[in-house]
Amino acid sequence: MKISKRIGPLGVHAILLTYTVIALFPILLVVMNSFKSKKGIFRDPLAFPDATTFDLVGFEKVIARSSFDVYFSNSISVTVISLLLVLMLGAMAAWALAEYDFPGSDLMALYLAIGIMIPIRLGTVSLLKMIVAMGLVNTLTALVLVYTAQGLPLAIFILREFMAQIPNDLKEAARCDGVSEYRIFWSIILPLVRPALATVAVFTMIPIWNDLWFPLILAPGEDTATVTLGIQQFIGQYVTDWNAVLASLTLAIVPILILYVIFSRQLIRGLTSGAVK
């Protein structure tokens, strides 16, 4: 009885630990090998860097031989601007769908939900045509527009569910207080769905940061390349500069990690503040 009670949580932890190891292993491998010399990488890829293999040549190459700073700032601005647009427009649309009953609101919600099911990449050809027609090829604006469209359906879906759960009394109390509908949204609804906003932010930013597809098609120019695209120059048909690839990948992890920490804090704070009634 006692043993079987203990096995349950142990089993769960064993499974979770295994998953964590599997998930973290490639990242660890990348980070570990980025600090090694080429010989060190190929002789024993699984070893930690030591005195003989430690080498920062990868980072030096990345910084010296490519416009990594440009890629980096491109990635950051595309991610941050898309994220802000997704959160703002998504929250506003979600609020409208959750709170107001207008003709066709259900159809509209369904239409937006379809975006979750159909991958945006299916529309690449027509997207490219549109971007060309608008004269936005090789601009970051093109990427921001596409990523905003890509992120909105899920954002609206999640936020709408959260907003529907906010007690009616709160909105009605605000209306009795003479609070305008805009103000209700900004001052009452948004602060209350902060945990949901953090969730949406995390789910939205990671695919944007990691995307290779759209930068390759819509903005492959040297000035507009993002980090994921920029790294490709180190991968050649015949020779791949593994030091540089691994070093740039390691660098690319940093900003997204920082953003994640910021949002996950919001997430936890939001959850605990709601728990105490």
Binding site: P167, D169, L170, E172, A173, A174, R175, C176, D177, G178, V179, S180, E181, Y182, R183, W186, S187, I188, P191, L192, S273, G274, V276, K277
Partner: protein, 389 residues
Amino acid sequence: MADITLSGINKSYGKVEVLHGIDIDIKHGEFVVFVGPSGCGKSTLLRLIAGLEPITDGVLKIAGNTVNDLTPSQRKIAMVFQSYALYPHMTVYKNMAFGLTLGNKGPLGGLFGGGENKKLIDEKVQKAAKSLQLEDYLDRYPRELSGGQRQRVAIGRAIVRDPNVFLFDEPLSNLDAALRVNTRLEIAKLHQDLDATIIYVTHDQIEAMTLADKIVVVNDGNVAQFGSPLELYHHPANKFVAGFIGSPSMNFLEGTVISVGNKNIEITLEHDGTTVHIPAHPDTTDIGDKVTVGVRPEHMQEGTDLSFKLKAKVNVVERLGDASYLYLDNGDKDPLCIKTDGHSITKPGDIVEFCSDFSAVHVFDATGNALSRTTTDSRYTAPQLNIKN
């Protein structure tokens, strides 16, 4: 002055009509309680007055102006909700001040502020906090307060707006019994201090009786009766009000009219065939009509001292100390209840003789409407109170 007039108020949700032509006249400074069973429409009526739901038909006037199409804040009402509805992410101070910081001027409906100036707001909030003993809690968040304190904050938020009308939607339902009594007294005191018109919704008839200047008994979307608490208690207009006001509720016995006089009526009861002479105006009832007679438990006693005598078996005895309630066998109908002395030694299974005064008896015709009583016995009629207004 903020008189409120409801004339012919109808409310429908789709094809379902939930309020059927409500007419109520509320004077400035009155404390009016809407009371009725769950689902009778009393909360809907309050929300119509608040402006949270559109009125389907009829005219609502506040202070002489028709306000059907105005928003809640334009109607200058303040509402206190059952769930308190405090903004969870704001401190007590901000909760109370929030409504004042916004004006309706400026772009996007005052999104960027434009309300009253800070000093004036602070003055109002501090004053309200003082009167509600919330001064020490102004920096706390609602989650750090007890139920009673949250309720006071909700009331404070209403006070600072200085409204024409206060609306309370079952404000005490979420409090425990002791706190409920305290808060009830505070609300009564608040009414005296503020000299404001208050409309209060509850399903608890004790709250209704203790707080109200006037009670509106709502039943199934209609006003069953509108009057002072004692009027309702002594002169219920129909069987529903008679049964709803008073606890335990009124005893009902079926009977048939056997003779009608000018100011009295003679009825044979189905219970045991007794004949009773009730001082009531017969109105349109005639010999042979089915009627219901009603007597309050507190107007009955054990023994045979009074004019209206009955006999029945005791099923249950509830001893409360100061009084005991005897529940008597009444066939397949609701049991009869007598409020008797706390020292009564009657026990379940006993056959007791009990009695009441014919003057204490109410008669209701087949449609449930009360026949007007003609008794002059001051024990069974509403006293004339000299209340202000």
